[in-house]
């Protein structure tokens, strides 16, 4: 290489160093303004009147019943979507069949549907004027403006999370270990428990974490089917909305900071399972 090009490259390097510093500074600024500031606001508003008011807002009965309902929604929707995710990922990654890519698109569908529509469709099915409305009314079964509706809406918006994480992972891992297990005498279930499940463990955990986050925080879909009955059909996010609309800002932000803390836990869990997953992948790539 001639000295001229060497000089050009080192000049470019110096230019790069300045550009680098500017870019990093810009990234930090964007990060602080867009992400940190809202975090700070939640905490400062919540603690505006001291820790006492903060905790009072968290342990009042309506907040506790909202927490309970949120946990119920999570406890039902996450296991359902784990089983679904496993089944969907199994048939998509282990077999070839017609219409497979259409199926994958359909699995992703709830992601591209507005949460309000997710609520609306269940109102149209089970609401008083819906398809099954009269039938349900005759039998005195309430779905909309009741807990089942909230659970249904939550399940809908979280359908793709586990499947989406597992499908690419299982496709990448292939089926040879499963075949080896069968050749060594394992039954279908033994193969699944001893070989498949341990291999996809981190992807599964990652999917569960994302699914839990969404189930916990879903607002739009749940808002449509809830009816906002205090202490009965309020989840935590809906409770935040009610408090906020009643100008009880400190209480609203107190409950919000609880959700924020949960979100930060989710991020930590996510980071952790993700790092295990990338380690797994990089090991697989070395083979």
């Amino acid at each position: 290489m001639s000295t001229v090009t060497l000089a050009a490259i080192s000049a470019a390097r110096r230019g790069h160093a300045l550009g680098r510093t500017l870019l990093i500074a810009a990234a930090w600024l964007a990060f602080a303004l867009l992400l940190l500031l809202p975090l700070y606001i939640v905490l400062s508003e919540a603690l505006k009147q001291g820790l006492g008011t903060f905790f009072t807002a968290l342990i009042e009965p309506d907040a506790l019943s909202a927490l309970k309902l949120t946990l119920i929604a999570v406890a039902i929707s996450v296991p359902l979507n784990v089983v679904f995710g496993l089944a969907a990922a199994w048939c998509v990654s282990k077999y070839e069949f017609r219409g497979k890519s259409l199926l994958v698109t359909l699995i992703d569908l709830p992601f591209s549907v507005s949460p309000v529509i997710a609520g609306l469709i269940y109102v149209l099915l089970f609401g008083a004027q819906g398809f099954f409305g009269p039938w349900l009314q005759d039998r005195d079964i309430q779905i909309i403006f009741a807990v089942p509706g909230i659970v249904l809406a939550t399940v809908f918006v979280t359908v793709p999370f586990v499947a989406r994480e597992l499908i690419p992972l299982m496709q990448e891992q292939g089926s040879q270990e499963e075949e080896a297990a069968r050749l060594l005498g394992a039954s279908g279930w033994q193969m699944f428990w001893h070989v498949t499940l341990p291999n996809i463990k981190w992807g599964l955990i990652y999917g569960v974490v994302l699914c839990t986050a969404r189930a916990m925080g879903e607002f739009g879909a749940v808002s449509v089917v809830s009816g906002h009955i205090r202490g009965v059909t309020n989840t935590l996010p809906l409770h935040v909305e009610i408090l906020y609309n009643e100008y009880n800002h400190v209480a609203a932000f107190s409950v919000a900071s609880l959700l924020l803390a949960l979100a930060l836990c989710i991020l930590l869990l996510k980071q952790w399972s993700e790092s295990r997953l990338t380690r797994l992948k990089s090991n697989a790539a070395e083979e």
């Binding site: 040879q176 270990e177 075949e179 080896a180 297990a181 069968r182 050749l183 060594l184 005498g185 394992a186 039954s187 033994q190 001893h194 070989v195 341990p198 291999n199 463990k201 797994l280 090991n283 697989a284 070395e286 083979e287």
Partner: protein, 330 residues
Amino acid sequence: MSIEIRNVSKRFGAFQALNDINLDIHSGELVALLGPSGCGKTTLLRIIAGLETPDAGSIAFHGEDVSGHDVRDRNVGFVFQHYALFRHMTVFDNVAFGLRMKPKAERPSEEQIAAKVHELLSMVQLDWLADRYPEQLSGGQRQRIALARALAVEPKILLLDEPFGALDAKVRKELRRWLARLHEEINLTSVFVTHDQEEAMEVADRIVVMNRGVIEQIGAPGEVYEQPASDFVYHFLGDSNRLHLGDEHHILFRPHEVSLSREPLADHRSAEVRDIRPLGAITRVTLRVDGQDELIEAEVVKSHASLVGLARGERLYFHPLPTLPQRVAG
């Protein structure tokens, strides 16, 4: 245990992977399925194992038709090309897997399993790796662990898919000698798939040469090399030269089937020396014959008289000494 393959066919969509295959593998034999990629050799191996169902035909082990048997009941050891070791299990657990999966009544106790696993690990000379994970092993070590895992359930038949394909040249040579010895020691019927003719020649008792879903020739290594049944087998089992004789006729001969001379001799053709490569005991000379673009490679012992002081661009006279009869170009 012998394997009888009768009229087996298999297609994948529009691709005919196997077309009416008939093959008998005798008890205790070590057979190589040799052919280029896509010739159907791996599919045949997977069908023998029960990993693939043939569209037509049957597989029998020692006279008993196993076509309808589940993979678990065939009692076949299988070593995958990339080993398919269970990545989340230690070497010990990998080898113990087959024993632990046995139904309760047949399952040995944990002490018996441990004893058996250590016996197998010392057989493959890797006892000291029992607590490692597959990702911590080298390619050659993984290969031997895969073998130990397959042998743990004491199969009567051992199937290996490109067993040395993913290894580097030196390890590969060591391992294939070791495998041949191992096969002698334990009484097994073994079939392995390979695309490497040298590997097949060195290890196998018999070679099955396959191409485009059919068997081209079955025979001992010497047989398929010396008496190839077709041009395909001839080309596939070693380097070859083609010399045109005019009138659409040509002859095929191997680089060593040649007589070389510095002086013009009767029947010898004149050629220009393009390249001289000393390859240890032999030397390879690349020749260009007048009237044909295809170059000719000749291999002679390094002390051959014609090589003394030979330089590129000089003239040499050669005469092919083929084992094959003259052919008409087709």
